[in-house]
């Protein structure tokens, strides 16, 4: 997969995030420089407290770096105002969270189109239909989240992340709240989005099975990138995790 034609969708340079002051400083991220490539499915793994969620939040512009920079599509997030960051999230980033992904008062269809609606944009209708077809939601569009199963809700979240044709999709433990069958289904959709719809996905997970769906895994420990793996399998990941744990 790693070929010279790869372009960088998002990256960090010397990303450092410090919590606390003076004696009790904690380095959530310690000089992390990493590139995420277009058209790839990247997983970020690491034990709790390794800084994987912080890294993702900083790439998303939801959190600020103490030092260093996070860049999406050539734009340095640290130099942007709250309004610009909001617009960036709306237009260039798709989000999939672990739970509570949907606005309870809106229908599935409205939830899928939410970033476009917020930006007062029509979007690419052909693309949106294709996304909806891909995640098999045609007959659920008028339902409210409370009328959908957990798996269906997450599929709506995936469709929403795709709907605005973002530069990058950030997923934070997207299958954490699902049983393994439904979780596998969601991961297959994400895989399909990369392979068939040419999307870029960065996913934070601690589940080796989920990580095995990725093209590439970045391992974090104590706020640092400690290793990488290409073309992972669940067994390989498990082994690497064990070695990191030691």
């Amino acid at each position: 997969m790693t070929s010279p034609t790869l372009t960088v969708a998002a990256s960090t340079h010397g990303a450092t995030k410090i919590y606390g002051k003076d004696d009790s400083v904690v380095y959530a991220l310690n000089d992390v420089s990493v590139d995420f490539y277009s058209g790839q499915f990247t997983a970020i793994m690491g034990p709790s407290g390794s800084g994987k969620s912080t890294l993702m939040h900083c790439i998303a512009g939801l959190d600020e770096l103490t030092e260093g920079s996070a860049i999406i599509d050539g734009e340095d997030l640290s130099k942007m105002s709250d309004k610009n960051l909001t617009e960036l999230r709306r237009e260039k980033i798709g989000f999939i969270f672990q739970s509570f992904n949907l606005v309870p008062t809106l229908t599935a269809d409205e939830n899928i189109r939410l970033p476009l609606l917020l930006g007062n944009k029509k979007g690419n209708e052909e693309w949106i239909q294709r996304v909806i077809d891909t995640v098999h939601l045609q007959d659920r569009l008028t339902h409210r989240p409370s009328e959908l199963s957990g798996g269906q809700q997450q599929r709506v979240a995936v469709a929403r992340a795709l709907a605005s044709e973002p530069r990058i999709i950030l997923a934070d433990e997207p299958t954490g709240n699902l049983d393994s069958t439904t979780g596998g289904e969601i991961l297959s959709f994400m895989r399909m989005a990369v392979d068939q719809l040419d999307q870029t996905i960065v996913m934070v997970t601690h589940d080796p099975v989920a990580a095995a769906y990725a093209d590439r895994i970045v391992f974090l420990a104590d706020g640092k990138v400690v290793s990488e793996m290409l073309e992972p399998t669940a067994e390989k990941v498990l082994d690497r995790m064990k070695s990191l744990g030691n």
């Binding site: 909001t86 709306r90 237009e91 309870p104 008062t105 809106l106 409205e110 970033p115 917020l118």
Partner: protein
């Protein structure tokens, strides 16, 4: 459990403050008005104590004629009585007192003081005397027919200084005097904002009333005996048939204090009605806050239940919280009340009521009442939510969502519809002929029912009202609309204060509009002249009868007739009679005489209305004994019956009946007919000049006069605006509290929205529109209810002559616009809070 309750309160200070806010609002009005009333009472008591300090005796007539609306006219006593009193052993000095209607005309030619609605305007006596009520602050006491003294406040208001020429209007007409003195009453510049023109005794007797008579005699003793003994001594010189009594200084002080106390109690009843409304509406807010907080703590409570807390422990813990909130809120409300009473103390003088100086009187009972009532209302409002909190199943701790149950509420719907049905049935029965007294019951039934079914109708109505928002504002509007509808119970409870306020305002203005229309119809039918001079003196004073005579002499005027009132006692009941001039009223004003002409009304005659004739079995030729203000019984013969009793009342007499007696009578209107072919503009100018020279009254064309009379109902508007203001404030506070709690509750949702690209501005828009929809929900329901209520009231008053119901379209539109802004204003802070939600922590809360 008590510790847990306390910790729970302290852990959520914001909620404590929010809940208390509702309590504070209600109790602040309560304590503010009661402190203010007590203060007013005390200062007026001190004032009269002061003013009457040197008076040892007070001689006056025992004969009183009481009219409608608490008007009284005490018979006067002959002026020579003063000499008799002076001769009584133990009397050091005695001077007559006269107090009657008089108005001071300002430099701009207009009488000073508020027309009609303001404090009374008096003419009285000021003389050098040990027991004088008035002291001269500047200049000297007036003496002779050309001199006047004014109370300090009036002189200042009109810009008069000693040496100026001042025009004063009284029963005898209008005259110019030289200002020789500025007087003060006790330590105030004018008592209660009333205006006073002061004269020496002969001038007052002649100009203000009937010469040869005085209202009372002020007596100072020589110190040889007690006031009681002195009063007895004076009483001895009067034959019982003279109907004269002597009060001691203490008695007249007490009586005056009681009189003013009664007048003030009316005022404080009015104020307490407002505070009861404030408290009642505030209790909705309190109830709402406790309900929401119970819902938000559902998981916490479920956890406590799972860990072994009993239902009653959960309920009790919440009630303990309500006691703390109630105490905290009431005490804060009491302190706020002190502020409100100070505000009233500043606002009233600004409106023309000069209040005596004096510190605030904070009675113990005001403190206890405020705290007790505040506590009671808070705990009562918390009982239902607390019981509901106790009913939470321990299993709820395991559930993900902690939203309020939004069950169908079929039972509630049925109960509510039951209330409405019973209410309507009662109203229907009254319309069908049952007693009017049941109307209140029916109205309460409909109100309670509407509030009970509130949650059931809130959702569809909010969705309907939210349509424009969704259409205009896209997805933010859609979310606002859905947010307003997502928790119908909460939305309906939040809009209840708006509902109640709007319903009251709409009902009162519907009543006003209906009265307005009615009066307009009546005047159009009965007033036949071309011009009218109106004066809004309500039962006290008016235009001098001499004015109509002067106007009648103007070239081009065919006739000018004055219509006035007189108090009388008939069968020992106080009545207000209409006084006309039979020779000039013909063709000018029509009371609907039945087969008779005005000329048949002579000195010994009376006209009565057909309805009175039917009720009392009277007919032409019957004799009625009438006692006018001079206490002399007169046998008047019914000369004719008439149809229109809505303005003229039931009895009409001629001015001639009491000519040359001490009966005082003023005209409330002068009606003018022009000669055929008279040049309108020239005559109008001449009329205007006559009115200007007189110094009081407004010259109006027929149409203008009709509009003005109908418009007088708009004084009801003061009440409307008071109600509106009060309900607006409470409604805003209620909406703010609910929105804030909703914002706290929807943190995760807000975090998600912000994460996927909602800007802060869009967050604000969403909250704002939700608020507007909630407010409009209350307004729409309130208007419907208010129009119904207004119709019912107008119907109930059909015997008082109200026959046509009118919807106050202007007010209705105003209320809708207003409630839109209420929504906007209430949303400001919650919307700001919503934008401050931290995305990361919102997303991470589980």
């Amino acid at each position: 459990m008590f510790r847990i309750a306390l910790k729970s309160i302290l852990g959520r200070k914001a909620r404590l403050v929010l809940t208390s806010l509702a309590v504070i609002l209600g109790t602040a009005f309560l304590s503010g008005t009661s402190i203010f009333s007590a203060t007013l009472d005390r200062t007026f008591n001190n004032l009269f104590q002061d003013v009457f300090a040197n008076i040892d005796g007070y001689v006056r007539s025992t004969e009183v004629v009481e009219g409608d609306f608490g008007l009284i006219e005490r018979q006067r006593i002959p002026a020579e009585t003063v000499q008799k009193v002076l001769a009584v052993p133990g009397v050091a000095d005695a001077v007559p007192d006269i107090q009657a209607f008089a108005r001071i005309v300002g430099k701009d030619g207009k009488p000073i003081g508020a027309e009609g609605a303001g404090p009374p305007t008096f003419g009285s006596v000021a003389v050098e005397f040990k027991g004088a009520l008035w002291t001269i602050a500047e200049g000297k006491f007036p003496s002779g027919p050309k001199e006047v003294a004014l109370d300090e406040s009036s002189a200042e208001k009109a810009g008069y200084v000693v040496g100026d020429t001042v025009k004063v209007i009284a029963q005898a007409g209008s005259r110019e005097f030289t200002l020789v003195g500025i007087a003060s009453y006790g330590d105030v510049r004018s008592p209660g904002g009333a205006t006073f023109a002061l004269f020496d005794v002969p001038t007052a007797a002649e100009f203000l009333g009937k010469p040869g008579f005085v209202d009372a005699i002020l007596v100072v003793g020589d110190g040889t005996r007690t006031d009681e003994a002195l009063a007895n001594e004076i009483d001895k010189i009067f034959d019982p048939s003279a109907k004269v009594e002597t009060l001691t200084g203490a008695e007249i002080t007490k009586e005056t204090q009681d009189d003013i106390g009664e007048a003030l109690s009316f005022f404080s009843i009015f104020l307490s009605i407002f505070s009861v409304i404030a408290l009642g509406v505030g209790s909705f807010v309190i109830y709402n806050v406790f309900s929401i907080s119970a819902a938000q703590r559902q998981r916490e409570n479920a956890l406590l239940r799972a860990l072994g807390a009993s239902r009653s422990q959960i309920t009790r813990s919440m009630l303990i919280e309500s006691v703390v909130v109630g105490l905290f809120g009431s005490i804060a409300g009491f302190i706020g009340g002190i502020g409100i009473s100070k505000l009233l103390g500043v606002a009233l003088p600004a409106l023309g009521f000069d209040l005596p100086s004096g510190g605030l009187v904070v009675t113990q009972s005001a403190v206890i009442t405020t705290i007790f009532v505040g506590l009671l209302v808070t705990v009562l409002s918390a009982i239902l939510p607390a019981r509901r909190a106790g009913k939470v199943p321990p299993l709820a701790a395991m559930r993900a969502t902690a939203l309020e149950t939004t069950g169908k509420g079929t039972k509630q719907l049925l109960i509510g519809l039951g209330f409405i049905a019973v209410g309507i049935a009662i109203v229907g029965a009254v319309i069908g002929g049952a007693d009017n007294n049941y109307l209140g019951l029916g109205i309460v039934g409909v109100f309670v029912g509407t509030i009970v079914i509130g949650p059931n109708v809130a959702r569809p109505v909010a969705l309907f009202l939210g349509r424009p928002a969704a259409a205009l504002r896209g997805v933010t509007g859609t979310m606002a609309r859905q947010n307003a509808a997502r928790n119908p119970k909460r939305t309906s409870r939040t809009s209840s204060p708006v509902l109640i306020g709007v319903a009251l305002v709409t009902a009162v203005s519907a009543l006003a509009a209906s009265i307005n229309g009615q009066i307009s119809d009546i005047f159009t039918e009965q007033f036949k002249g071309d011009y009218a001079i109106s004066v809004s003196a309500q039962g006290f004073g008016g235009l001098s009868p001499s004015l109509a005579n002067d106007i009648g002499k103007i070239d081009g005027v065919k006739n000018a007739t004055g219509i006035g009132t007189a108090l009388a006692k008939i069968d020992n009941k106080g009545r207000t009679l209409t006084v006309i001039s039979p020779d000039t009223i013909e063709g000018n004003y029509d009371i609907g005489l039945i087969n008779a002409s005005y000329s048949s009304l002579d000195k010994d005659g009376i006209f009565i209305s057909r309805s009175l004739a039917e009720r009392d079995n009277l007919s032409v030729g019957s004799v009625i004994t009438v006692v006018l203000g001079d206490a002399v019984p007169r046998d008047l013969t019914v000369r004719a019956l008439y149809e229109h009793d809505d303005l003229a009342g039931n009895r009409v007499i001629s001015r001639e009946t009491f000519a040359g007696t001490t009966v005082s009578s003023f005209d409330f209107g002068i009606y003018i007919n022009l000669e055929d072919g008279a040049e309108n503009t020239a005559v109008r100018a001449a009329l205007q000049k006559a009115v200007d020279d007189y110094g009081q009254g407004k010259l109006l064309s027929r149409d203008e006069y009709i509009d003005e009379q109908a418009g007088q109902v708009n004084q009801l508007l003061g009440l409307i605006y008071g109600l509106l203001f009060l309900s607006v404030i409470i409604a805003i506070v209620g909406i703010i509290i609910t929105l804030l709690l909703s914002v706290f509750e929807r943190q995760r949702e807000l975090g998600l929205l912000r994460a996927v690209g909602m800007t802060r501005k869009q967050v604000r828009t969403t909250v704002r529109w939700e608020s507007v929809i909630t407010s409009l929900l209350g307004a729409v329901t309130g208007i419907i209810l208010g129009i119904g209520l207004g119709w019912v009231i107008v119907f109930a008053l059909r015997d008082q002559g109200l026959s046509s119901f009118q919807i106050p379209i202007g007010t209705t539109i105003f209320i809708m616009v207003m409630s839109f802004f209420v929504g906007l204003i209430a949303a400001i802070y919650p919307a700001w809070r919503a934008t401050k939600v931290d995305i990361l922590s919102a997303l991470n809360t589980n």
